[in-house]
């Protein structure tokens, strides 16, 4: 299924004109597959992308997320059984809570609702410096602000320079610059670490 077919399916599902049999019947609906897409050149770089939304979840009603954008714009985001959802792990709609932050991509419908193709809940992507390392945590400096990164057993991984992804975090060192992908714990300065990209490796 190419990206356009997928979006048409999701849109029609939202509109109630097609049933969704389930992700496994449609082939992969993982986020990576959802973005095996042709060129996306039609958006004015200075204008907000109409098929994208971000903000905090302020309400959940059935399969509709009510989201207040950081710019105070209100979004209605429709989730279907075909929506891929990430919240530290690939997960399901039940894992989304009021207060979560999110980024969403999908198709904007005529009534302004965004039919979500993908949701990334509480996801953060930050270049930081390691300032301390403890048992199960990293203290990180992010532009002068301290962030606590929690190591999640069985989930947190490291990528050292050009090596394959590993669960071994022992090569991380205080003072190193790293890039992290993680999930923010709402209303704190803490994140659960998904991947730590370490550009340099301790000797």
């Amino acid at each position: 299924m190419d990206a356009i077919d997928r979006r048409r399916l999701l849109t029609s599902a939202v509109l109630g004109t097609a049933g969704i049999a389930g992700a496994t019947a449609l082939g992969s609906l993982a986020p990576e597959a959802a973005h095996a897409a042709p060129a996306q050149l039609g958006v004015d770089p200075l204008a907000d992308d109409p098929n994208f939304a971000e903000g905090r979840v302020t309400g959940i009603k059935d399969a509709m997320l009510l989201v207040t954008g950081s710019d105070t714009v209100l979004h209605r985001i429709q989730v279907t059984s075909g929506t891929s959802i990430w919240k530290l792990h690939p997960t399901t709609f039940e894992a989304v809570d009021v207060g979560d932050g999110l980024y969403a991509r999908g198709v904007r419908l005529g009534d302004g609702t965004l039919a979500a193709d993908s949701l990334w809940v509480n996801i953060v992507s930050m270049s930081v410096q390691i300032t301390a390392i403890g048992n199960g945590w990293l203290h990180l400096d992010h532009g002068g602000s301290r962030v606590v990164g929690h190591v999640v057993p069985g989930r947190t991984a490291a990528v050292y320079r050009d090596a394959p992804t590993t669960g071994d975090l022992s090569k991380l060192r205080v003072g190193r610059h790293v890039h992290i992908i993680g999930a923010w714990r709402p209303d704190t300065n803490e994140v659960d670490l998904a991947t730590v990209y370490a550009g340099t490796v301790a000797g």
């Binding site: 986020p31 958006v43 994208f52 932050g101 992507s125 890039h179 990209y197």
Partner: protein
């Protein structure tokens, strides 16, 4: 010019960053070096957005001689894992390429080496999943 058709493209890794109004640890990100960066627009951070920026990001320390492309310049960024392409205008200075010299990510036999460009979540998510972190890319002007 457009996607994957310029005479002298740059190759490397792409990632994403937030800017403008935001939630969580990004809430203090601000409008970037150009003052107009927002996560919802197709924008990017480029290591040579200005001479001052270049002295901070230092891509030359990793062997890259990147062209000066200031605020508003439009790049075409191709995800080399999927072929998806997005246009994005320069709105910030970054990434700090010299801090990650030699870093490499591959899709099969196609690899990108060194941090070359950061996209806003809106731009990055148009061609890749935000959870994929770093990906090899081609950059055309």
């Amino acid at each position: 010019m457009g996607c994957a058709n310029s005479a002298s493209p740059a190759y490397g890794e792409m990632s994403w960053f937030c800017c403008g109004s935001a939630w969580g640890p990004c809430s203090s990100a601000g409008g970037g070096a150009c003052g107009n960066c927002t996560s919802g627009s197709h924008q990017c951070a480029w290591p040579h957005a200005s001479a001052a920026c270049y002295s901070i990001t230092q891509p030359y320390a990793c062997g890259h001689d990147l062209a000066l492309r200031g605020c508003g310049h439009v790049f075409y960024i191709t995800n080399q894992c999927t072929g998806g392409c997005v246009s994005a205008s320069v709105a910030d200075c970054g990434p700090n390429t010299h801090q990650f010299c030699g870093e490499k990510h591959c899709c099969g036999s196609t690899c990108g080496t060194d941090r070359m460009i950061d996209l806003t979540p809106s731009a990055f998510s148009a061609i890749a999943s935000l959870s994929s972190g770093l990906l090899p890319c081609r950059i055309d002007s």
